[in-house]
């Protein structure tokens, strides 16, 4: 732990005649201001984001399956080429390692490791975006061809937006953490950015299975 921080004083306590107050008070002056994980408001807000973005991807997948169940042939033409998407799947799988590490190191205020891991994740983010663009370019049909094509573009486009948001978060935090006088709450942000990246990776897996793998299996 390269950046030791002052520890919190512990639990809130019930006191009488604390300071200028003449009646009992719940003294919270010793409570921590920097905590991590499920206890933070940001984490809970992040759960809301997971629900909203997860519902978006989920509903597009439901629409895809709904139309697929009604079509004689689904997909109507060739399935999208696997190469780019497989590379992206590998990249996302790889990225989970620095993302999980990043969370751990952020909670320990290990600035050096956090900087290094953020730079790594930033580079992986650039790579996944480039490969995603390659994936769009290699799609066999444009979105206006038929409903199948429209939904595949919609699914991949929605995931691309999630990826862009996660990448922006990582890039901005990389710059922020490279500046001096880093506050504790920035480590909390870094911790949550790790979670957000993991969400993007998980949603890619769902997207990939539906758009690329399912036409070859079903």
């Amino acid at each position: 732990m390269s950046d030791p921080r002052p520890p919190a004083g512990g639990k809130a306590s019930l006191k009488h005649d604390a300071g200028s107050v003449s009646e009992p008070v719940v003294d919270v002056s010793g409570l921590p201001t920097v905590v991590f994980g499920t206890r933070t408001t940001l984490w809970l807000g992040f759960v809301g984001v997971i629900v909203v973005e997860g519902m978006m991807i989920f509903l597009i997948i439901v629409a895809y399956l709904y139309l697929g169940a009604r079509a004689k042939q689904w997909p109507p033409g060739a399935a999208p080429a696997l190469t780019a998407s497989a590379v992206n799947t590998a990249l996302f799988a790889l990225s989970t390692v620095p993302a999980v590490w990043l969370k751990r190191r952020a909670a320990q205020a290990d600035l050096t490791a956090v900087r290094r891991l953020l730079c790594t994740l930033s580079a992986i983010a650039i790579a996944t975006i480039v490969v995603s663009l390659w994936g769009f370019a290699s799609l066999p049909v444009r979105w206006e061809a038929n409903a199948y094509a429209s939904l595949v573009w919609m699914l991949l486009g929605t995931h691309a937006l999630v990826l862009l948001a996660a990448a922006l978060m990582v890039w901005v935090l990389t710059i922020v953490m490279l500046t001096p006088r880093v506050e504790g709450r920035r480590y909390m942000n870094v911790y949550d950015s790790g979670d957000y990246w993991l969400l993007a990776a998980f949603l890619w897996l769902a997207t990939w299975l539906v758009a690329y793998v399912s036409p070859r299996l079903l």
């Binding site: 921080r5 002052p6 520890p7 919190a8 809130a12 604390a18 300071g19 200028s20 107050v21 003449s22 009646e23 009992p24 008070v25 719940v26 003294d27 919270v28 002056s29 010793g30 409570l31 921590p32 201001t33 920097v34 905590v35 206890r39 933070t40 408001t41 809970l44 807000g45 809301g48 984001v49 629900v51 909203v52 519902m55 978006m56 509903l59 597009i60 629409a63 709904y66 139309l67 009604r70 109507p76 205020a109 979105w143 206006e144 061809a145 038929n146 409903a147 199948y148 094509a149 429209s150 919609m154 922006l168 901005v172 922020v176 006088r181 506050e183 504790g184 709450r185 920035r186 942000n189």
Partner: protein
């Protein structure tokens, strides 16, 4: 349990009143946002956002009301000539859209919810104030652009549901439906942002001691509504987005000729649309429960049953959407399931009504205007519920679908479950917002004119529906026997319009000259009444702790207050979400312009979706810039924050 009313905690006595005054000044300075000129755009105060949302939503109610008068005038006689078919289509489409998306949900969830939830749970702001401001401006921009487009002749002409194929390019050329879809994206993004904000606020910022089973019922209602919104809103946002892309980017999702499906639109729309009805009704349940308890002078009967019934309503609401689609040729098994599920929803609704009746029955009634409105809810909402049971039966629905019977049913449900609770809430909470009471006599005039006007307008529509008059027609032929009920409906609508005169006069007069309210004019038990009227910028100079469901009634005289937060920073306490045990402290952001700018950039993107991908690209870059500005750490105060940091080892 009969509540005790005289145990309300007095303001804590201080050993040093001068230092106390100075402390209050510091808190005022810390929490006050700039309120002059463009400074208002930086406001992050939940009370201001709540007030502004209420005022804007009320303006939309008036605008939607004007459209309803036009419709009733048009239909008051056969072959009316006031509105042509195209104008009539736009009028009813914009009326429904305005009332659902721009009035009801914003008023209840974002207006009353924003203003009162932080006060009722004893905290100083919402968990994410910048997200709140961003959502507020999205709502304002979306509503304004939609109405300007309508007034310029670009109103949607496919109804508030915009079903394909009617809403597709082939049958609805022009930009009207595009603006409708754009509005849906604006309001739903705003509602989802607010849902995240409100749920985190309720779960993590409650006063110490306010465990989940002590939360006020209105707060429960808002929490459940927020959770529903998180799961349901994306569905309509997606249907609107797919519709917009089918129209502007030539995607084929709803085009049967290219593997698309028109019923997919209806499934997506109603998977949101039916939960939406309960998202509108549940805050009304919360308001009615609050008011019934206060004016019965006792704690709510069946608190646990009420909470569980609201949760059950929310759960069942996600399984009944296809009862809006009985006439579309669904499989027999689906029809049976959705009928059963739709019937089931009367059980939690019945629990709610009976809990209120039991509270009233066993309390000591004080019949003031807010309670009068709640009694009106009983009458009107129950009637709407009963016709709902009839419509849940497939054979009845097949006969009555798309007739005026349905129009009568959903106005009874929505006005009974939403508008009446809103007026009850206005009379109840106006003293907290302004410090002055509304006039009782004018309030009674308002209620009775509204009540009679409402029933005169909508009751005859049941008969019209049974006689076969279809909804969404701009005129009808003479000799069908529909003239009389339509004239009655017009007279009722005019009476409804007249009822707003004593209301508006009352509000305008009372906010300056009304009787002073004091902190707790009704002798109520929830925490918003434990602070001054109107509340200070920081809500509570001494953050409260609670020891019961009605803290003002139940707190012991020496109930502790929270101490140890810095007054010169926007610090709030984050207790444990389940039992309200103090856990840690966070600092909320200072006033900032970035959420406003981010909302402007988002508006450029959403409007750009209609017109040009280049506009979307420019707006997208602006969005990135504004969001980076939003999240970029402030250097001001960094040394102070670093000095006060306390880490918990993990």
């Amino acid at each position: 349990m009969t509540a005790q009313h005289n145990t309300k905690t007095d303001p804590p006595e201080r050993s040093d009143s001068a230092s106390e005054t100075s402390r209050h000044r510091t808190l005022d300075k810390t929490w006050m946002d700039p309120m002059r000129g463009f400074g208002r755009l930086m406001c992050l105060d939940h009370k201001m956002m709540g007030r502004w949302t209420m005022m804007i939503a009320f303006t939309f109610l008036l605008l939607g009301g004007v459209l309803s008068i036009l419709m009733r005038l048009q239909l008051a006689q056969p072959e009316g000539t006031l509105l042509g078919p195209a104008a009539y289509n736009r009028t009813f489409g914009v009326h429904g859209t305005t009332m659902m998306f721009l009035f009801a949900m914003p008023m209840l969830f974002e207006g009353f919810g924003l203003y009162f939830v932080p006060l009722m749970i004893g905290t100083r702001n919402v968990a994410f104030p910048r997200l709140m401001t961003y959502a507020f401006y999205l709502y304002v921009f979306g509503g304004t652009i939609f109405w300007i487009a309508f007034l310029l002749g670009y109103g949607p002409d496919a109804g508030w549901t915009s079903y394909v194929t009617l809403a597709g390019r082939g049958f609805s050329p022009g930009r009207g439906v595009d603006f409708w879809a754009m509005l849906i994206l604006f309001t739903e993004v705003a509602a989802m942002a607010m849902a995240i904000d409100m749920s985190v606020t309720v779960l993590r910022l409650r006063a110490p001691g306010m465990s989940l089973n002590r939360m006020p019922l209105f707060v429960w209602a808002i929490l459940i509504t927020a959770l529903m919104a998180l799961f349901a809103m994306m569905s309509v946002a997606l249907s609107a987005e797919l519709l917009l892309m089918d129209r502007t980017m030539r995607t084929q999702v709803f085009n049967p000729a290219e593997l698309g499906d028109v019923l997919l639109y209806q499934h997506l729309f109603w998977f949101f649309g039916h939960p939406e009805v309960y998202m509108l009704f549940l805050p009304g349940v919360g308001i009615a429960s609050t008011i019934v308890a206060t004016f019965s002078r006792r704690s709510t009967f069946g608190y646990t049953a009420l909470v569980l019934s609201m949760l059950a309503t929310a759960f069942i609401a996600f399984g009944v959407w296809a009862h809006h689609m009985f006439a579309t040729g669904l499989p027999q098994l689906s029809l049976s399931y959705f009928t059963a599920a739709s019937m089931m929803i009367v059980i939690p609704a019945g629990v709610q009504i009976f809990c209120w009746l039991a509270t009233l029955w066993t309390g000591r009634l004080v019949l003031r205007v807010p309670l009068l409105w709640v009694l009106g809810v009983f009458f009107i909402f129950v009637l709407g519920g009963l016709t709902g049971v009839t419509l849940a039966l497939v054979p009845v629905d097949w006969q009555l679908t798309d007739t005026y019977y349905v129009v009568a049913h959903f106005h009874y449900v929505l006005i009974g479950g939403t508008v009446l609770p809103i007026f009850a809430a206005v009379y109840y909470w106006f003293p907290k917002i302004t410090g002055r009471l509304l006039d009782e006599r004018a309030g009674k005039w308002h209620f009775w004119l509204f009540f009679v006007g409402f029933n005169l307008t909508f009751f005859p529509m049941h008969l019209l529906g049974l006689e076969g008059m279809p909804r969404r027609v701009y005129t009808y032929l003479p000799g069908l026997g529909w003239d009389g009920p339509n004239v009655l409906a017009l007279s009722g609508t005019l009476l409804l319009a007249v009822s707003f005169v004593p209301f508006l006069g009352n509000v305008l007069w009372s906010r300056k000259r009304g009787e002073m309210a004091g902190d707790d004019p009704w002798g109520a038990g929830t925490l918003e009444w434990a602070t001054s009227s109107p509340p200070p910028a920081c809500n509570f100079y001494d953050l409260p702790t609670v020891s019961g469901r009605d803290p003002v009634w139940e707190n012991v005289p020496d109930q502790p207050v929270v101490a140890g937060l810095h007054d010169d920073a926007r610090e709030v306490l984050v207790p444990h979400w389940l039992d309200g045990r103090p856990d840690h402290v966070i600092e909320l952001p200072q006033a900032t312009i970035w959420p406003f700018l981010a909302a402007v950039a988002t508006a450029v993107v959403l409007v750009g979706l209609i017109f040009s991908p280049w506009v979307v690209a420019v707006g997208g870059v602006a969005m990135i810039v504004t969001f980076v500005g939003w999240f970029w750490p402030r250097r001001a105060g960094v040394e102070r924050r670093l000095a006060r940091e306390r880490w918990e080892s993990t």
